[in-house]
């Protein structure tokens, strides 16, 4: 079991996770992530990963039980390898097209970024047993405290942030389970709730405007 209840109510995710671990998480859970976390914000990177997985080829970084997230990171080349300078979330919907293949075929248990994923991806997460984490947009300083080192960097022909980067992190947070492995999406629920509230909101807006006129 790699999901541990923290004393502050935040659930600790120690990678790798099993399918049962992933399915035990529910939307709204606050989590901290520890272990090797793979990331890229490259569109070509995502397309390449999806194409390789669809052909049955192995990725240069094994994602089974692991995490693959839309976090941007610049890695400076040093004499001994690479030094990660920061982490910062990117908008996940940009990768909607490639994510179903990556979720279904790589064995990944945690994906994430900001803003959520498409309905097709929600279905893939449910089928495969994987969760989506919402990271704090613009929370670079806070998130970067968790960086412990660079485990691997692949596909160096891309710019740094587009490469397939695996960083060792300790307590990467804050993060919220926004789509769980049981078909629940906080984005879908909040959109439905906002749509239901919209007639009242517009009515109140109109009244306030008329009163001001």
């Amino acid at each position: 079991m790699s999901v541990i209840a923290g004393s502050d109510g935040v659930r600790e995710l120690r990678l790798p996770l099993t399918e049962a671990d992933a399915r035990s998480l529910v939307i709204g859970d606050q989590v901290r992530l520890t272990g090797p976390v793979t990331m890229s914000i490259g569109l070509p990177t995502h397309k390449r990963m999806a194409a390789m997985l669809e052909r049955g080829e192995a990725l240069p970084q094994d994602l089974r039980g692991g995490a693959f997230v839309h976090l941007s990171s610049f890695n400076r080349e040093t004499a001994g390898g690479f030094e990660a300078l920061y982490l910062n979330p990117s908008t996940s919907t940009r990768y909607d097209e490639s994510m179903p293949s990556i979720i279904r075929k790589s064995g990944v248990r945690v994906v994430g970024g900001k803003g959520g994923l498409s309905a097709q991806c929600v279905q893939a997460l449910k089928d495969a047993g994987c969760v989506y984490l919402s990271f704090l947009g613009g929370g670079c300083t806070l998130l970067s405290h968790a960086i412990r080192g660079v485990a691997s960097v692949h596909w160096n022909e891309y710019i740094s942030q587009f490469r397939l980067i695996t960083l060792d992190v300790d307590g990467l947070a804050p993060a919220t389970v926004a789509i769980d492995a049981n078909g629940n999406s906080v984005y879908e629920q909040l959109r439905d709730r906002a749509n239901a509230r919209m007639p009242d909101i517009l009515q109140q807006l109109k009244q306030a405007r008329d009163a001001a006129a």
Partner: protein, 88 residues
């Protein structure tokens, strides 16, 4: 113009009373949606609304700029026969 308003210091009240009142009404309406920080639920979806305007003739484009949301580009080719080809 929208980007200029993003850079208006937080807490600085719009000097035009009509716009200042509009900003307050829209902020209340936006926060009533309940999307919250990062769209994962809560009372604060927006910290502020900043509005500016300019005169125009015959058309009135509106630009909205909100926090780092990168899904903002698209490309299309419009042909003489009215056909629109989406390129991305």
């Amino acid at each position: 113009m929208a980007k200029e308003q993003v850079l208006r210091p937080f807490g600085l009240i719009n000097p035009e009373p009509i716009l200042a009142a509009m900003e307050t009404r829209l902020l209340d309406a936006i926060n009533a949606t309940g999307f919250g920080p990062m769209g994962t639920g809560g009372d604060s979806s927006a910290m502020a609304v900043h509005i500016d305007y300019a005169a125009s003739h015959g058309f009135m484009p509106v630009a909205v700029s909100f926090n780092c949301w990168i899904n903002r580009r698209t490309r299309a080719r419009i042909y003489n026969d009215g056909r629109v080809e989406r390129l991305e």
